[in-house]
């Protein structure tokens, strides 16, 4: 089973090596460019990187923070990876994260006296549905009216954010928190409990890993998953084969949005316990990097999520303790992404192989077009 999982995750077979080498090379290249940046700002890059590594993985506490950071990144990364397989770029993770967190908070706050094994799953489910609705809207608009999902998701990011901002400054504001605009604390029965206390690691990591497993199963072992991948490989061909493209589009965006909603939920129920309008430092955008560095395979997303979680932790620590300027983490994310797609480019691969190969249909990387 596990071997099968590994095998499938790095499919297609002929690319096994490439799917490992490419992300590593992209990360390395980005670290080199980032190092030049850091040294231009008057710091020693190797010393900074060593500090970051130690902060992110040197102690159980540090590792705990890294893995905790990774939870929403894995979930939101899956939320980008799944629609990507269906040929859609979900830039709407940020809005889906906020709306998912809102639904989970509402269920967390409005139900009382339930045991944790009822209350917590209900809150998680609510978070999934909230994000799912926010993701299904652009999916539906694309399927029914041909609207470009990128633009719709970006607008929904802003609208979703301002809805939450309105609620936590107004109707949902905790009356006893004068200075801060956030909701009341969700009760313990809706919180994700710690599973490793020393590292302050909560149950969210199990949720994230389960979600990765389910996403994998859905994509490669079910009919709807097969249909999504077929649509991603070419919507015309899929349509001629009798697949309902619109249904796959809406479904993949609903599930993708739901996974992003779970990402927001995991932060509220596992770390912050209160909904605010500043809880996401841009998880939805980092998720794009996570999904693509993970080659849009669920197992790859797990590793990429852990990497970016550690990177964020290390950069934060270096900012606090060594005073490097802010913005390093985002710069590195963007650079890694650029090097990833540059490395995947047909021209470069051709040039490396020094021979001309015909363009083949590539099922792992559906083209995303504006239409």
């Amino acid at each position: 089973m596990f071997r099968d999982l590994l095998h499938q995750a790095f499919a297609p077979r002929s690319r096994q090596l490439q799917s490992l080498i490419l992300p590593l090379a992209a990360v390395l290249a980005a670290l080199v460019v980032g190092g030049v940046m850091i040294s231009l700002a008057g710091f020693k890059p190797l010393q900074i990187y060593a500090w970051m590594l130690d902060a992110a993985a040197g102690t159980p506490q540090g590792l705990g923070v890294s893995v905790t950071n990774a939870i929403p990144l894995i979930l939101a990364g899956l939320g980008v990876a799944l629609p990507f397989r269906c040929g859609l770029l979900n830039i709407g993770g940020e809005g889906q994260i906020y709306i998912g967190a809102l639904f989970a908070t509402l269920v967390g706050l409005s139900l009382h006296g339930l045991p944790i094994y009822v209350h917590l799953p209900l809150a998680l489910l609510a978070g999934f549905i909230g994000g799912g609705i926010w993701g299904a809207i652009p999916g539906y608009l694309r399927a029914s009216r041909g609207l470009n999902e990128i633009i719709v998701t970006i607008m929904l990011n802003y609208i979703g954010f301002w809805i939450i901002s309105f609620l936590v400054h107004g109707p949902m504001k905790d009356p006893e928190s004068y200075g801060y605009s956030w909701t009341m604390k969700v009760p313990v029965s809706a919180q994700l409990p710690f599973i490793i206390r020393v590292a302050r690691l909560n149950l969210g990591i199990v949720v994230a890993l389960l979600a990765a497993g389910v996403t994998h199963y859905l994509l490669w072992h079910t009919v709807p998953g097969f249909e999504m991948r077929a649509v991603g490989a070419g919507s015309q061909t899929a349509r001629f084969a009798g697949i309902r493209v619109g249904r796959s589009t809406v479904l993949s965006m609903f599930i993708g949005g739901g996974l992003a909603g779970l990402a927001g939920t995991s932060v509220i129920l596992g770390v912050q316990y209160r909904l605010s309008d500043f809880f996401s430092p841009g998880y939805g955008f980092t998720a794009i990097a996570v999904a693509l560095v993970g080659q849009t395979s669920p197992l790859g997303v797990v590793f990429a999520g852990l990497f970016f979680g550690g990177l964020q932790n290390g950069v934060n620590s270096a900012q606090r303790s060594l005073g490097i300027p802010m913005g390093v983490a985002l710069s590195l994310q963007g650079l890694i992404l650029l090097f990833m797609i540059a490395g995947q480019s047909l021209t470069l691969i051709r040039w490396l192989r020094k021979k001309r190969t015909a363009r083949r249909v590539d099922y792992s990387q559906p083209a995303v077009l504006l239409d």
């Binding site: 940046m37 231009l40 700002a41 008057g42 770029l89 830039i91 608009l141 009216r145 041909g146 609207l147 470009n148 990128i150 633009i151 719709v152 970006i154 607008m155 929904l156 802003y158 609208i159 301002w162 809805i163 901002s165 309105f166 400054h169 107004g170 955008f285 980092t286 794009i288 990097a289 693509l292 300027p325 802010m326 913005g327 390093v328 983490a329 985002l330 710069s331 590195l332 994310q333 963007g334 650079l335 992404l337 650029l338 797609i341 540059a342 995947q344 480019s345 047909l346 021209t347 470069l348 363009r359 990387q365 083209a367 995303v368 077009l369 504006l370 239409d371």
Partner: protein, 311 residues
């Protein structure tokens, strides 16, 4: 009630603010239209605008002149655009992902560069553009103060829209750009260099996005703030579709979105019982509504988003 409303929204101040907010959208959308007419999607507009905002601010700070700042801002936008062009034209990589990567990278990079140079002390106020009343024209009732008492960047944008409209529709170069965006193989077969045309259109887009960015740092706030373009690069992407890839229509659409922003600010300033979050969300809501309403009416360049690989 009606009188109050009309005073709110039909005052000279309000209309003038609408034009002020609209023009950065207009100049960036002209750039995006040129790039997309040539077949290259540039989602990285937001990042290029941020680069322009920071480049403009630094140019004005170190050189002491807003016009030199403008040039630096445009150059900064063009540098980012050149990276996009290399990745998507020479390497034929995915255009949307490249743009998204540039947005993320530039959000971090501009912040990093600003902090590395200016630290965390008070933000320096730099040499900036002041409104200039155009003789005669600014004396026309209503139209004068609204359109002809603005910062010079606004006048530049008026000219830009007209020049771009003529360029695309009436010049040989404009037709070459269209040919490359509609049918690159055919353009190639009559001797037009697809990659050269596309490089130029993407870099022009970067120059104009950089200029749009300087509106924020040299026209409105006179300094740089992280993420100060606030998602307007994304609104521009919607403007381009709504305008059906026409520069003049894009200017009109931009005016509508500028007005939406001005409405938001008015509501916020007047404290009329509408939550300020609704006011701030208004431009995005309007964008979405108009986009949904006009869906299917526009026709995009046929080869948009597709890499052209010569066999």
């Amino acid at each position: 009630m009606w009188i109050i409303l009309s005073q709110l929204f039909f005052s000279i101040d309000f209309l003038s603010a609408s034009v002020r907010f609209a023009m950065p959208l207009a100049s960036a959308s002209v750039g995006e239209i040129i790039s997309e007419r040539g077949g290259i999607v540039n989602i990285g507009l937001e990042g290029m605008m941020l680069a322009g905002a920071l480049g403009g601010m630094m140019g004005a700070y170190f050189l002491g002149d807003p016009w030199l700042g403008l040039l630096c801002g445009m150059a900064a936008g063009a540098i980012v655009a050149a990276v996009h062009a290399f990745v998507v034209i020479t390497l034929a990589a995915d255009q949307v992902v490249s743009g998204a990567a540039l947005n993320i990278a530039l959000l971090g990079l501009t912040n990093f560069i600003y902090r590395a140079i200016f630290g965390i002390e008070e933000r320096p106020i730099v040499a900036h553009f002041e409104p200039v009343a155009i003789p005669l024209l600014s004396r026309i009732p209503v139209v004068g103060p609204v359109f002809f008492n603005q910062i010079p960047l606004v006048y530049l944008t008026y000219g830009l829209v007209i020049v771009a409209a003529i360029f695309i529709m009436r010049t040989r170069w404009g037709l070459e750009v269209q040919a490359v965006g509609e049918h690159p193989r055919a353009a190639d077969s009559v001797g037009i260099s697809v990659s050269r045309v596309r490089y130029l259109t993407v870099i022009v887009c970067g120059l104009l996005a950089g200029m749009a960015g300087t509106f924020f740092s040299l026209g409105q706030l006179h300094t740089f703030i992280e993420g100060m373009t606030g998602g307007r690069g994304f609104i521009v992407l919607a403007v381009v579709i709504v305008a059906n890839w026409s520069p003049t229509r894009a200017a009109l659409a931009a005016l509508m979105f500028g007005a939406a922003e001005a409405v938001g600010l008015r509501i916020q300033a007047l404290n009329v019982g509408v939550p300020y979050q609704l006011a701030l969300a208004f431009p995005y809501l309007l964008t979405l509504t108009v986009y949904i309403g006009l869906a299917g009416r526009s026709r995009m360049p046929r080869a948009l988003g597709l890499a052209y690989i010569k066999d």
